[in-house]
Amino acid sequence: MTIFSSEDRVIVAADTGPLLSVFQSNTTEFLRRYFSRIFIVQNQLVEFQKHSAATEIQSLIDEGLVVVIKNLTDKEKEEAMEVARRIATEPSCRDSIVPNHLPEAELIVVSQRAEIQCAGILLDERAARSVAKNMGLNIGGFLGILGRAGLDGLFTKDEIRRLLQTCQSLGTHYKSSLIEFVAQTYGR
């Protein structure tokens, strides 16, 4: 078992979905444990508000863990539109309206800025994951964070089950077999 210290935390960019799952399951402490900084883009703030998580994200912004990137260059905006188009046309995408994918597309683009040194991007949406993967980016998601925490001995199988069932009861459509896989594979 490898226990990572707080000095070994990494910088990531995070889409709205994984952070909402963190808020639903009340596991923000694991964001602090593994990440020294989490970048989001301005367009995501509307999504947090829409999903009743405006207070939670603001609290992380106030403590300095989450940083909002507000200004994209014209070139980044163009690239984001192209990435949004690619997401909208992915076979696994259920929403073909291109502008609806701009928040995650902008995040994918800005996560590649050399100066912010992102190790990867947190994405749970399959179409966006597929596009980001094809662009050669490192991808993680909420279940990956839970799995890593489990490997660090921080969760029992029952605790993982309970956390994911909480998300499930709030509307996240995890299959029960997936919950069992994560609990059995990563819980102590």
Binding site: D8, H173, F181
Partner: protein
């Protein structure tokens, strides 16, 4: 206060393989950070840095990394900790 609603309508399509890949990414990224910190702390010790430089200039090792790797393996063998993980 209304409950926080999920963003991902297609979360049911996340597969065990996706989760394994995600965990592997986090593990690798954290490990890389950990190694960077260890190396930084190690070479900050001037006695170690000078010893490493001497080992390299002696011509027995190609570079500092080779010298360190050999040192760790020798120590592991000497203390009989190869089988422990």
């Amino acid at each position: 206060m209304p409950p926080i609603t999920p963003h991902e309508s297609d979360a049911e399509f996340i597969t065990p393989e996706d989760v394994e890949n995600d965990v592997a990414f986090f593990t690798e990224a954290l490990l890389e950070k950990q190694i960077q910190r260890l190396v930084r702390e190690l070479v900050r010790r001037s006695d170690i840095y000078i010893a490493l430089r001497k080992l390299v200039t002696s011509g027995r090792f190609a570079n500092e990394v080779e010298a360190l790797a050999q040192a760790v393996q020798t120590l592991q063998s000497a203390t009989g900790t190869e089988q422990e993980a």
